[in-house]
């Protein structure tokens, strides 16, 4: 076994300044993907902010306090132009669900995390669908399937990006 001090090539390197805020900042940056000049006809892009939020929370329980999901959700609502309060409620509820899941699950693996993320993404799409229905745009429920599949399949990408940001912010 090689000693850590010998194996580590970079010495005197710690977390970057403001390391504790980078998870929240990265969620806000993901919400701001909406400023990209994409004019989509079907709206099947994933909700990037929610994907990154889930990826952070599944990577670390202490990435940000649970209640930070509420202001981050408000920012997401304002950026996306969705009904104000939708992301606030859904994101905070997802954080609470994950707190409960942390207590209930005995072990974690990639597959289990992906399944948990898929269930929460389904909940988010369903809430969005129901809110659209209340606001006068009642679509058949099968219309949430394509965006849900795309979101679930892009979750590992978000998880990888978040792991890289975590690596960087902690100065590894």
């Amino acid at each position: 076994m090689v000693r850590a001090a010998l194996a580590q090539r970079k010495v005197n390197q710690g977390p970057v300044s403001g390391a504790q805020y980078w998870p929240a900042i990265s969620v806000m940056l993901a919400s701001l993907f909406v400023v990209l000049p994409i004019v989509s006809m079907n709206g099947w892009f994933p909700n990037f902010g929610f994907l990154v939020l889930l990826a952070w929370r599944l990577l670390r329980a202490d990435a940000f306090p649970t209640w930070w999901a509420a202001p981050l959700g408000l920012f997401n609502d304002l950026a996306l132009g969705s009904p104000i309060g939708l992301s606030v409620a859904v994101w905070t509820a997802a954080m609470l669900v994950l707190d409960i899941a942390d207590r209930r699950t005995q072990w974690r693996g990639y597959w289990l995390e992906w399944i948990i993320a898929a269930v929460l993404l389904l909940g988010q799409e369903a809430a969005e669908w129901r809110v659209a229905q209340i606001m006068g745009a009642s679509l058949p429920f099968r219309s949430v399937v394509p965006p849900l599949l795309i979101s679930v399949l892009s979750f590992p990408v978000a998880a990888w990006v978040v792991a890289r940001i975590d690596w960087w912010r902690l100065g590894r």
């Binding site: 701001l32 909406v34 400023v35 990209l36 000049p37 994409i38 004019v39 989509s40 006809m41 079907n42 709206g43 099947w44 892009f45 994933p46 909700n47 329980a61 202490d62 306090p65 649970t66 209640w67 999901a69 509420a70 202001p71 959700g73 408000l74 304002l78 950026a79 996306l80 132009g81 969705s82 009904p83 104000i84 309060g85 939708l86 992301s87 606030v88 409620a89 859904v90 994101w91 905070t92 509820a93 954080m95 609470l96 707190d99 942390d102 207590r103 699950t105 969005e128 669908w129 809110v131 659209a132 209340i134 606001m135 006068g136 745009a137 009642s138 679509l139 219309s143 949430v144 965006p147």
Partner: protein
Amino acid sequence: MATARPGWSRKAQYGLFFSFLAAIAGLLIGLVLLAVSFVAPKSYAAVRGAALDATAPVTGGLREVTATVSGLFSGAGDYWDAAHQNAQLKRERELMIQRIVEAKAISQENRELKAALQLRERSRTPVASGRIVGSSFSSPRRFAIFSAGSSDGVRVGMPLRSPSGLIGRVMDAGSLASRVLLVSDRASIVPARILRTGQPVISQGRGDGTVDLRPLEVGRNPFRPGDIVITSGTGGLYPPLIPIARVVRLDDDGAIARPLADPGSTSFAVVEQPYEPAAVAEEASARPEDE
């Protein structure tokens, strides 16, 4: 797991507990905000407009870059096979000139007939022009961001059109940009008629870039593939005679059509006055749940 019990520190335990309480409070606040969005959507008009003003200029700037890059490619493509295109365009031009002469004669006749009937001609001056710079891309609703706002005279409820057809109408107006409900949104219902027969129909979005067409009178399916549908002006929100969509497929009692104005490739769009301004005010007060 890490959150179950953060060791023996009383302070850490309290911190975790208060964070949990704050999260519950956040959830409740979110639900209240959402409920307000349902019953009184106008109460967020200012903050939504401000958010729109903050993000839309960035989108607009990026849009210029992508438009320039794609323009370079399509511009280079135009040089390919230029001689053949030139001949074809000349033929089309000859045909067009004939049509224009016919149309001029018809419009003159129309003016004389209207004068004979003493119909009041409504002036249709555009309020503002701009471009579609972005859209909602992660929700079942279909909104687009338009690069003119209330400082240009844009107000909520005004219709938006491009040279090729109707795009939608303004839902939120910031001072620099506005959010437009597209024709293909599920909540967007446009009174229309078939150009070929004049039969009244209703156009409703399907949320995936196409629209549903339903005839107002039950009976035989009046649509044919390729039919053009135009606004009828009924209801007073949309001016009449704006092309909406072309039928692509028939279903049992109606048809599915594709809007003629593609927001993705529209370079310029024009906001017009509501056809009957009173109708907009009436709708705003009568349908408070409409966002």
